[in-house]
């Protein structure tokens, strides 16, 4: 059969992603994933040792693309630091208006598996959010902000808060409100920065 066999594994992960994200982890059976991928459950278990393993693969596949998207939205925005960060929230609001949007897969998984704190999928989610936080922190540090880690965490809190609130109310305008708050916090931090601070 196919020698490197990555297409099969890839197909399984993509089927799992669509189902887990749309329906929830525990709602979706391994049989459903296999059917959607066009193969039998037994074949799926050849590529993944357990359902938990598959859940971890689902989130791992979303890690880099998600981060790249945030960086792209930031990079493409015209303006100062605060405006560029606010652009992330505006773009997110746009995605959230899509009818199939159902929040952040990482956060929803950690909520659903809250009774299994050490679950591999939760570790992947935590690492993902740390990477985002660290990218923000480094960006803020470059701009000479006094406490870049604190500010990065505050932005992250607003971002994840908007995922949660918009999922509950189905009202993406909360994301724009979060973006305004982020802008305020960044402008305040820029106002307090030392004379050596770099501006854009």
């Amino acid at each position: 059969m196919p020698r490197p066999s990555e297409p099969t594994r890839e197909r399984i992960v993509q089927a799992a992603s669509a189902l887990f994200y749309n329906e929830g982890i525990r709602r979706v059976s391994v049989d459903e994933v296999a059917a959607k991928a066009g193969l039998t459950k037994r074949t799926l278990y050849y590529h993944f040792k357990s359902k938990d393993d598959l859940v971890a693969a689902y989130l791992a596949a979303r890690d880099q693309p998600n981060l790249a998207l945030f960086r792209k939205w930031f990079a493409e925005a015209e303006g100062g630091l605060a405006v560029k960060v606010e652009a992330i929230f505006k773009n997110l609001a746009r995605s959230a208006r899509h009818p199939k949007w159902k929040g952040c897969g990482f956060l929803r998984t950690s909520a659903e598996l809250a009774n299994m704190p050490g679950h591999p999928a939760i570790r992947i989610g935590a690492a993902h959010k740390k990477k985002f936080e660290d990218w923000l922190r480094a960006t803020f540090a470059e701009q000479g902000i006094a406490d870049p880690l604190k500010l990065a965490r505050q932005i992250l809190l607003l971002l994840d808060g908007s995922f949660a609130v918009v999922l509950l109310h189905r009202d993406p305008s909360y994301m724009e409100t979060a973006g305004e708050a982020a802008r305020t916090l960044i402008e305040t931090a820029l106002g307090k920065q030392g004379v050596s601070g770099v501006r854009t």
Copy 2:
């Protein structure tokens, strides 16, 4: 048997609360809830017409006590508006250090049932958060803040963000960071308020 029969229904809701909150909605079976309440599943189905009904009752029971706790934390704190709101976050951080803490039941339920947008439990969760938002809005309005609704929503975003982030990282210090951000936003809003603004 007991005539008003409210103790039985009450016992079921309490058993359901403990199990749903600790293990997750879909993880817990109706049999488990019945067993924990000390009666049979058939009796449970006499008091609730479905599992969905029971899930809604679980969240409805948390609505008022939760709001009362937030108001109490706010009322008992010494200081100005910003400090009193920050106190909510500090108290929340304290709760989150308890080993059995597992985030916000309303948000976790909305994440787990994200594929059922009209679910009664999600409606109850949305109404709960709206009540909190409205209480904050009214409080800010009393203090003469220019756009009390916007500020209330920003605080709510930080609060729900801290639930999500702390659940993921199991690091309650994020709640204190959120509290600082809330204080900054409120102080900024107070600084911009009209001359007629009331101070505390």
